[in-house]
């Protein structure tokens, strides 16, 4: 919807929303809504009909109840750093949650925190730091993205290799269902019996309702950390080093790969980390845990890298160097964004033994379609992030980029992988859902969604292709 003035009905809505959250917290003008037209993936734009930004839990509940009363669809939004177009609200109400930033409690003894959904990921770790604790899932966007967005996407991050993803760190949450009901999922104080509704809600991409508060586990800061930088003269050698380390059973806290073009982009930016600019690939490998034994593991990791052909392996000598090495990795996406006006990024995961072959395939596809791919990804998990920078105003280049992306995705699925490891389906990966799941499986997903949101008003049109959402029970024979 592109109209810059609101139709009449929306003016009434505006007034009713303003009565709940205050006039300043309801946005209707095109200029004001521009920020909310896209998420972290700049290729998609969609204008919400109206933006509403509650400041408290009660306001949020009142807003959702009003929308339920009016039967209006809405899209929850955190910081808008998502990489699948998940927070786009095309012609519907955008419900911004980033003002709900209260860290309600930190329980150092039981190592957990209760937070509102708008709390920024890194802010939680900062607040936990005085207790020697941190929140382990660390998406590279952690200085901006919110816990609510993390829960909705089941976000990962470099350190999820050892510590697990969001799912493994949420003990309980309060969900505000699209019909306005408030329910507790999970149990912060013990085990749960019955269906794992908490597990079902995590990763539901805003389609099951709004996470109103979240109880997360906090991790103890490790006693010792070793951060290694290994540099390689071929991508293949780096990929083989990853496979060797995984197969040997060493579980680094993180194991990230960056290829030559990515390294060059980072080194040309303000985030320059001192990576070797002539390397074809680097691995950033971190080990953590008790001081006892950590050097033995670090030595083994370094040996695996050298055996695979690393030109050199160096260890960060102090926390400042370690932070610098990580900053380059975490800001790599931003650094690449500086070079090209538009950027697409994928998130496929392949079995880890397939990494070398898949990186070769990506290079082949890039050559075939004459596009420039940068690879920066969670290598230890087999979670690829091929990025392609391009100019979307060129129809020819856009077509080649999208064809290349489709080819890469198909190769990953054919290798036994999946289409998204942490960014979610949103709208960006909708076209690939049919290649991964059977009609019966997609139908089952729709049935699950209908449990939480039978009216399908929360984040409509995302995750599962519309055509899969036929009646689940109606015609069993037609579904086989």
């Amino acid at each position: 919807m592109t109209a810059s003035t609101l139709p009449h009905a929306d003016a009434a809505l505006q007034a009713r929303l303003a009565a709940i959250v205050g006039e300043r917290r309801v946005l209707v003008r095109a200029g004001e809504l521009r920020t909310y037209e896209s998420d972290g993936l700049p290729g998609y734009h969609a204008r919400p009909s109206i933006g509403v930004f509650p400041g408290t839990r009660d306001e949020t509940i009142a807003v959702v109840r009003l929308l339920a009363e009016l039967g209006m669809p809405f899209v929850p939004r955190g910081a808008g750093t998502g990489l699948s177009g998940g927070a786009l609200a095309e012609g519907v109400v955008l419900l911004g949650l980033h003002r709900l930033t209260r860290i309600i409690s930190i329980d150092a003894e039981d190592q957990r925190a209760l937070v509102e959904p708008g709390v920024v990921n890194a802010a939680l770790s900062r607040a936990a730091a005085p207790f020697g604790l941190h929140y382990a899932p660390d998406p590279s966007s952690q200085t901006a993205c919110t816990i609510g967005g993390n829960v909705a996407e089941n976000a990962g991050g470099p350190h999820c290799l050892k510590y697990g993803v969001t799912l493994n760190h949420v003990l309980a949450l309060t969900a505000l269902l699209p019909n306005g009901d408030v329910v507790t999922l999970g149990n912060a104080d013990g085990e749960c019996e019955g269906y794992d509704l908490l597990g079902a809600f995590i990763g539901s991409e805003g389609c099951f309702g709004v996470a109103l508060d979240v109880t997360v586990r906090l991790a103890r800061n490790p006693q010792a950390v070793r951060t290694l930088l290994a540099d390689f003269s071929s991508l293949d050698a780096a990929a083989h080093a990853v496979s060797a380390i995984v197969a040997a059973g060493i579980v680094p806290a993180a194991m990230e790969m960056m290829d030559g073009p990515t390294i060059q982009a980072v080194e040309a930016s303000i985030y320059a980390a001192g990576y070797p600019v002539d390397a074809a690939a680097i691995l950033l490998i971190e080990l953590d845990g008790a001081a006892a034994g950590i050097d033995a593991d670090a030595d083994r990791v370094a040996a695996f890298c050298r055996e695979a052909g690393a030109r050199g392996v160096r260890t960060a000598s102090d926390p400042a160097e370690r932070a610098r090495l990580w900053q380059g990795r975490k800001k790599a996406f931003g650094a690449m964004g500086r070079i090209s006006p538009h950027l697409v990024v994928q998130d496929a995961v392949v079995p880890r033994t397939k990494l070398p072959a898949m990186l070769a395939e990506i290079a082949r596809v890039a050559a075939e379609y004459r596009v420039k791919v940068c690879n920066v990804f969670h290598a230890g998990d087999g979670n690829l992030h091929p990025n392609i920078g391009y100019d979307a105003t060129s129809p020819d280049e856009s077509a080649r980029v999208h064809a290349a992306m489709a080819a890469i995705m198909q190769a990953c699925v054919a290798a036994g992988g999946t289409i998204t490891g942490e960014h979610g389906v949103g709208i960006d990966k909708l076209p690939y859902m049919d290649s991964l799941f059977s009609p019966a499986t997609l139908g089952a997903m729709c049935a699950l969604r209908d449990v939480f949101d039978p009216a399908r008003r929360a984040n409509p049109g995302k995750v599962v292709p519309m055509h899969s959402c036929r009646e689940w029970h109606a015609a069993p024979s037609a579904r086989s």
């Binding site: 794992d196 699925v413 036994g416 019966a440 689940w472």
Partner: protein, 390 residues
Amino acid sequence: MARGTVGALVSVHAASEIATVLADRVRSARAAGTPLRIVGGGHWLDAGRPCRALETISLAEDAGIVEYEPGDLTLTARAGTTLADLARITRAEGQWLPLDPFGSATGTLGATVATGSAGPLASAFGTPRDQVLGCEIVTGTADVVRAGGRVVKNVAGYDLTRLNVGAWGTLGVLTEISVRLRALPEMDRTFAVEVSAADGWTWLRASEFTPMAAELMSPALGALLAVGDAAVLLVRLGGNEALVRGAVESLAALGPMREVPASMWEALAAAEPPGSAVVRLSTAPSRTAALWERASAIVERARGSAHATLTRGVVRCILPVSGDGDEEHARLRGMVGALQNLGTAIVERLPASLWPAIVAPAAVDPLSVRVRNAFDPDRILNPGILGEPA
């Protein structure tokens, strides 16, 4: 490498042959209104759960590895594969599925996942919820659903995998399961330390060492396993030589300690007398020591035993049952009731006749009922097994 014992690698879409046959079975059961009991190794049949079924579907025969590429540290197996077979096959590659539910290792992977069962190793490796990557399910609507995948990270679509883990087969019959594996640690040593629950927790909370398991055992259990007659913390340490040596030194400061054979864990898993009533209590970890003291008093009066996964806040209480008489049942009701009063309580086993009177049904909140309606609208699969009314 052990692979392909069942057949060629199936495509991500294709339903396995057995699932297709099962779907037909479920479809006709649905049409005929014949509720089915889903059985793996059969170890839960005597748990007393009030399942109302007219026919049984056994998955025990549907066993074997579908795909195992050791370098991926993932494995896909048919649901009837036993944990013992999985352990044998993965050990040959220096790997394991660190999942050690109580009971016999002849239990099946399918039942372990369906019941969400875990043991002491959950302390470090989590429960089936954390280890299952995907599964094939035949739903109560006779659809074959292939949820999740075989890779270690996956957020494609809504999480039907988590939904079925711990659902006791009431949403679908699990026919195939993919799990994450780990490399066997370089060293794997177990120590018995005499320590109180409170001191044990304090060490675990603050120590830089993360044991693979740390299970506190009541004096009765310690005596049964011949590790002593005081409360004993069984600690399983894994890692390289230097790490384990460091952890051993740190542990030794806690109390009298001695190394025990790893077989101790199997002995613990098999320790409960057949026919016992088992109640699992849980709380926040910092409150486990207090819960332990109170539960221990009740368990001792019942001449039972208990063990606790301190980092998870779980206290598992084992109450012997002698006979079937009214008096014995009244006694049990009193004991179980007293345990339930201590907080979150999950009943694992109980004489069948006592179940409805004592155990609150699970999955009866409105959302869970809607889940059940979506996937098993006619209550064909294991009806009543969650204690839910007809």
